[in-house]
Symmetry: C2
Subunit: 256 residues, 2 copies
């Protein structure tokens, strides 16, 4: 805990630079790094161009303890992050057998074709380790001090939760999830108020949609149970209050 | 309009890297650049450290047609952007006589002391030109191809509106403002819907607070009157509808 641990981030994607997609990952990484005592020193947003990604990766992985990237690990032709990271490290980019088997099995189960595009998500630099993706399965990866994660905020945040305990700060974050049967529009103001009242926590809101229904997973993260619990309880009360006063979709379900 | 015009952005500030403040300027600059046909190619977020700012400025101003910076031009000791830009260009950073006189007069009018800290806001590289600040007076500045603007989103956006017509794309943006007597919480969802229905416009919402009252200035920007007008009318209808159904604070005031 006494050494200064530093980090940088690369956000990869033309869609951020064009304004089509608004980045939500920089602020989240900044919050998490602050909470676990790592100094985020620099962020770069670069386009989907191999030379640009390679140059940024090689500059920043040398300068800082850790480098985190988001974006460009999906199935489409412009997802070139795995190739670019491989090139930066001078190793081949190849199908990872475990990721390949996992995706193959998953698509078979869902009776969906395991297309060439989907197979791309199993590619990573030789020697990389998986970063598990509990949301949509296709893993991120770590090679050296570089952590390569998804650009979709809910997936990025879940991957980062898996990375945090491996970082050398001694600091850990614990989390609790409150299931909320309403969309973000309904709870946004109240949730913002709770965040302000619990400044040492990091509260995330993950909108969900399935079978015609919207709901939200609310995740509180904090350094200790003493800090976490009052915020979790406040969120639960807020959601419970909505169930009493509105459509009465039912009491919130809480999972830890 | 045929040459490719490129741009980069530097966001300056420890508060963004620590997560304390969430950046809102990258997405806005990206939107505006796309709308006027300039390719935003790279964004860097750097700390309040002179060496870091100088290095980023000198790298990016060489590589791209335009460089835009936000942050670090306020009155406090950690506002070192003017000094850093001066150093990057190898010119002295000094009080700009016109900015100094303007601020001095303004503070005198408001019967506030023109402190050393406030005087800092009149400092800029020798030879720089003002970028007017219609919100809080203290100007940004342009030197060479570098445009130095405030980090506060409403001020940044107003300064950028002044910069856009000077950029060499031939493209212009026009804007209309709708005064809205409600806070952002009331109009957020409806405004988001209007933005989706008018994808060629850029709709900004600027929360205001004075004398115990919250209100919002809603600004629509677009390439032409034909694109602008339907979005402006939709916003006016939305705000008017709220006046009919709720507290009845009064009809919206529209200024062009």
């Amino acid at each position: 805990m006494t050494d200064i641990v530093t980090a940088a981030m690369i956000v990869i994607g033309d869609e951020i630079l064009s304004g089509r997609t608004k980045d939500k990952n920089i602020g989240h990484l900044a919050d998490i790094m602050s909470a676990i005592g790592i100094d985020l020193k620099e962020v770069r947003i670069v386009p989907d161009e191999e030379d640009e990604i390679v140059a940024a990766v090689n500059t920043l992985r040398e300068r800082y303890t850790y480098l985190f990237t988001t974006g460009g690990i999906g199935p489409t032709h412009d997802d070139i992050t795995a190739d670019s990271i491989s090139k930066a490290f001078g190793v081949p980019c190849e199908y990872d057998s475990r990721a390949y088997a996992m995706l193959e099995e998953n698509y078979a189960k869902r009776e969906m074709e395991f297309t060439e595009a989907r197979k791309r998500m199993a590619r990573m630099p030789r020697g990389a380790e998986h970063i598990d993706n509990p949301v949509s399965l296709a893993p991120g990866f770590r090679i050296g001090n570089v952590h390569v994660m998804a650009g979709v905020p809910a997936i990025f945040q879940a991957m980062l939760d898996n990375v945090v305990p491996t970082l050398k700060t001694g600091a850990k974050l614990i989390s609790a999830t409150v299931h909320c049967p309403y969309g973000e529009g309904v709870i946004g103001d109240a949730l913002g108020k709770i965040q302000k009242e619990h400044p040492q926590t990091i509260i995330g809101s993950y909108p969900k949609y399935q079978d015609g229904t919207f709901w939200t997973e609310l995740v509180v993260r904090a350094r200790s149970e003493e800090i976490l619990e009052p915020a979790r309880a406040a969120i639960e009360r807020m959601v419970g209050g909505l169930a009493d006063t509105s459509a009465g979709i039912g009491a919130p379900r809480v999972t830890r």
